[in-house]
């Protein structure tokens, strides 16, 4: 019971940490970096090299 409760708490903490990291990345403009990569064909991914 105690274990279950602490793992739930850890889940909430990690969820908040994930949201905070995502927000930090957005503030640094990392969304644009991902977008720039994602709108071009990735040569390595498709096996061209």
């Amino acid at each position: 019971m105690k274990n279950r409760k602490s793992s739930r708490t850890a889940g909430f903490i990690l969820l908040a940490a994930g949201a905070a990291l995502t927000a930090a990345g957005l503030l640094q403009g990392q969304y644009a970096s991902v977008l720039a990569k994602a709108i071009r064909i990735c040569m390595e991914c498709v096996g061209i090299g």
Binding site: C42, E44, V46, I48
Partner: protein, 281 residues
């Protein structure tokens, strides 16, 4: 299966791209999807988290990938490997191949040691880009999603077709091997190679979407263990890193002792009225 099909379709909703061979350039492409879905697939409407992570790690000057890591931690803490079970197109394709009636072999001697391979793939995908810049090792040498993307692109575009060489032949061989293995082993890519599965598996123990076994109603019949194609013993460890939350065990339990959900494992709150307390006294 319905959820998986819908998720695969939603993540690859740029249907026009399959015919034109042009990938989507919409703003949504900057958002990582939870599962493995190559952003070079002409249908993809989002970014692959593994590809984006490796791209950041291999970029010079190096920047800490807060955004991608944050999304991975968020998805992991919320869903754990339910992402694999419900939202990953590659997982769904392997499940479709598992429907082919062949002699299935999900329990064999090398199964357990091979499961550790995905952690090595994850470590290699994260560490190697530090040493060799701009080389996403997993995407380049392993990822079947990228190979499938190449097949779609090559089918629609003659220029892409003419550029495919020995690296593509290697990737195609990996894809064919995985397709063949999927006919006999349930989700071999998820079990042995997927770095995302390895990562989300680490969250299974704490993820908010979780499983629970009611020990007071469990009759210990072992049906859940027998039905699990991922080789998990739900009674011993329902939140194992290998559990993809498919729910096969839930359906097999004659005592209805297994549950998955955001509230699974949470003890019901008992409200005792003042009058009842007086009766007890």
């Amino acid at each position: 299966m319905g959820i998986q099909a819908a998720a695969a379709l939603l993540q690859n909703a740029n249907i026009k791209g399959f015919f034109t061979g042009r990938i989507s350039e919409n703003a949504a492409k900057g958002v990582c999807v939870p599962g493995l879905n190559c952003y070079s697939c002409p249908g993809a409407v989002g970014a692959c988290p593994m590809g984006a992570l490796q791209s950041f790690l291999g970029a010079r000057p190096f920047r800490i990938p807060y955004y991608v890591v944050g999304l991975l931690v968020f998805f992991g803490a919320l869903l754990g490997r339910a992402v694999c079970g419900f939202l990953c197109p590659i997982g769904w394709l392997q499940e479709l191949l598992d429907l082919v009636p062949t002699r299935k072999r999900n329990r064999f001697r090398l199964d357990r040691p091979l499961r550790k391979l995905k952690y090595l793939v994850l470590a290699a995908s994260v560490i190697l880009p530090f040493f060799v810049a701009r080389t996403p090792f997993f995407c380049k040498y392993v990822c079947p999603s990228g190979t499938a993307a190449a097949l779609f692109l090559a089918a629609a575009d003659k220029t892409v077709r003419s550029m495919l060489g020995s690296l593509f032949s290697w990737k195609l061989a990996v894809l064919i091997a995985l397709i063949l293995l999927s006919l006999f082993i349930f989700r071999p890519f998820c079990k042995y190679l997927c770095p995302l599965g390895a990562l989300y598996g680490c969250f299974n123990r704490v993820a908010l979407y979780r499983g629970s076994v009611n020990e007071s109603t469990c009759i210990g019949c072992g049906k859940c263990t027998a039905v699990c194609r991922m080789g998990v013993d739900p009674v011993k460890n329902i939140n194992s890193a290998e559990c993809i939350r498919c729910g096969d065990c839930v359906g097999s339990c004659p005592a209805k002792a297994i549950r998955f959900g955001f509230t699974a494992g949470k003890e019901p709150r008992i409200i005792v009225k003042e009058a009842d307390m007086k009766n007890v006294q």
